[in-house]
């Protein structure tokens, strides 16, 4: 149990995908203009990350290791994740139109996102088992959701503030992101050790 809590805290706060590891910056900047779409994107990423970590874990342990081609993990994972997301999109469209309306438009955007590939590779590097990989996937997605939600609320406020001409739009967004990353530096492994020993 303690391991799982540790994994969740690690991926949501300490190794936050966006603010500490700088993965998945494209949707972080691109889809954070208003809260509604940011939340949609956040949940879509969480969903895909959880699915991708469990599938890539299976592919790695049941295909790559028996065939001794572990060095092909990156390219295989890209292939598997991309087709998986496409497949899931089709299933959702068929089975649940409301869910498709909420998540569907974001799914194609994250098929080859580096954050999704990142969680698959990190799971392998950390030798996580199936359940640990799954939890790590969800936690990393929630970390993404947290970061993009904070960012989108700040940017909505920024919209009605006066910003120097050359900082308007993307530059001020990146500066904001940088300051948020500084704040997240406060979460480090010492915190984890204090919390769960």
């Amino acid at each position: 149990m303690v391991t799982y809590i540790g994994i969740i805290i690690t991926f949501v706060f300490i190794n936050n995908f966006i603010l500490t590891q700088f993965l998945g910056l494209c949707p972080f900047i691109g889809v954070s203009k208003n809260v509604e779409s940011a939340v949609g994107m956040g949940f879509a990423v969480t969903f895909v990350m959880a699915l991708a970590s469990i599938t890539t874990w299976a592919i790695y342990n049941f295909v790559l290791i028996p065939l001794h081609i572990e060095f092909l993990q990156t390219i295989t994972f890209i292939l598997v994740i991309a087709s998986l997301v496409q497949f899931v999109e089709m299933v959702i469209q068929k089975v649940s139109p409301p869910l498709y309306k909420a998540l569907g438009i974001y799914l194609p955007l994250i098929t080859t996102n580096c954050a999704v590939l990142g969680i698959a590779l990190i799971n392998v590097r950390n030798n996580y088992n199936a359940l640990e990989s799954f939890v790590a996937g969800i936690a990393a997605g929630l970390g993404f959701l947290l970061a993009i939600l904070l960012m989108s609320t700040i940017r909505e406020k920024l919209d009605s503030e006066w910003v120097p001409k050359y900082f308007r739009g993307i530059p001020i967004a990146f500066i904001t992101g940088g300051l948020m990353a500084l704040a997240f530096m406060a979460f480090d492994n010492a915190l984890l050790n204090n919390l769960i020993g």
């Binding site: 065939l67 081609i69 060095f71 390219i75 295989t76 292939l79 496409q86 089709m90 469209q93």
Partner: protein, 292 residues
């Protein structure tokens, strides 16, 4: 070594092939049948996603037309041609309505130089925000507050600041979605027909004497425009001149006679050209005078 390379190549190719075939198969099995008419109607719509029809975008409106039988004449950017195209797809009679496309126009030319202000506003650049403080910083409660809330909602960037820093609408870009009219707190943004040549650039229904005190370019309700252009459709009500655009008579005489010059050309570019014409005439006169 070579074997290993070939083996890796084959295994990735096999994996890709399996996944590809799987996806192709899945797309067949899981294909969602979409009513063809929805696709066609969506193509017929302009695709600006402005929301003027009251639906969440062109796709949502197309679905509402086909599935819920929504009215087909709600798309104002598309105008008559779109209604006809949709009617053809749906097999309905085209009820085009009035036909004349409308465009938004700002009915105010009061600037810092010509109007008096109650206080200096320093805050969020938003007309509705300043309107909460004593109904705006201008002494005139009907005029343009000039902070550009209309520009923010305009889906086609048709609204801009002109050389004098006043809000104008480019009627070529305007798709008559009416979002600027909805967002404007003073109601100074109003729809006029596309063919409108002149507009009364004032929205104040205060008495003439009061208007004179706070604005140099406001309508004082003197009725000179009515007299000078009797068939121009000018009508003064509540101390404010308004134009009835169904009257097509000459309006220029009334505009020129206006003592506060608040009847202006609806098109900014036209104004420049007439100014040039006036300039040219003056120069011609000069030349004639010099010759004489």
């Amino acid at each position: 070594m070579i074997l290993r390379v070939i083996f890796s190549f084959i295994s990735v190719a096999a994996l890709g092939g399996i996944l590809g075939i799987g996806l192709a198969f899945a797309s067949r099995v899981l294909a969602v049948k979409k009513d063809e008419r929805i696709v066609q109607v969506e193509e017929a719509l302009p695709g600006a996603n402005c929301g003027a029809c009251g639906y969440a975008g062109c796709a949502a409106y197309a679905e509402a037309i086909v599935k819920e039988g929504a009215d087909i004449n709600l798309c104002s950017p598309g105008g008559a041609s779109t209604v006809k195209a949709i009617a053809e797809i749906m097999g309905l009679d085209a009820d085009v309505g009035s036909g004349e496309p409308m465009v938004a126009q700002v009915h105010c030319r009061g600037s810092k130089a010509t109007s008096s202000y109650l206080y200096e506003y320093r805050g969020v650049k938003d007309c509705n925000a300043v309107h909460m403080l004593f109904e705006g910083d201008k002494e005139c409660k009907f005029g343009c507050l000039g902070l550009g809330s209309c520009m923010k909602v305009c889906p086609t960037d048709a609204i801009y600041y002109d050389d004098e820093g006043l809000v104008r609408v480019d009627k070529e870009k305007c798709i008559s979605c009416g979002q600027c009219v909805d967002v404007c707190p003073t109601g100074v943004m109003q729809m006029v027909p596309y063919s409108a040549d002149y507009i009364v650039a004032c929205n104040s229904t205060d008495k003439g004497a009061k208007v004179r005190k706070y604005c140099k370019v406001g309508c004082i309700g003197c009725k000179i425009c009515e007299k000078k252009s009797p068939d121009g459709g000018y009508k003064v009500e509540d101390f404010l001149s308004r134009i009835d655009y169904s009257q097509t008579g000459d309006r220029s005489a009334g505009a020129e006679a206006c003592p506060t010059k608040c009847i202006i050309l609806a098109d900014d570019s036209l104004k420049e050209s007439t100014e040039k014409e006036v300039q040219n005439k003056k120069e011609e006169k000069k030349v004639v005078n010099e010759k004489a």
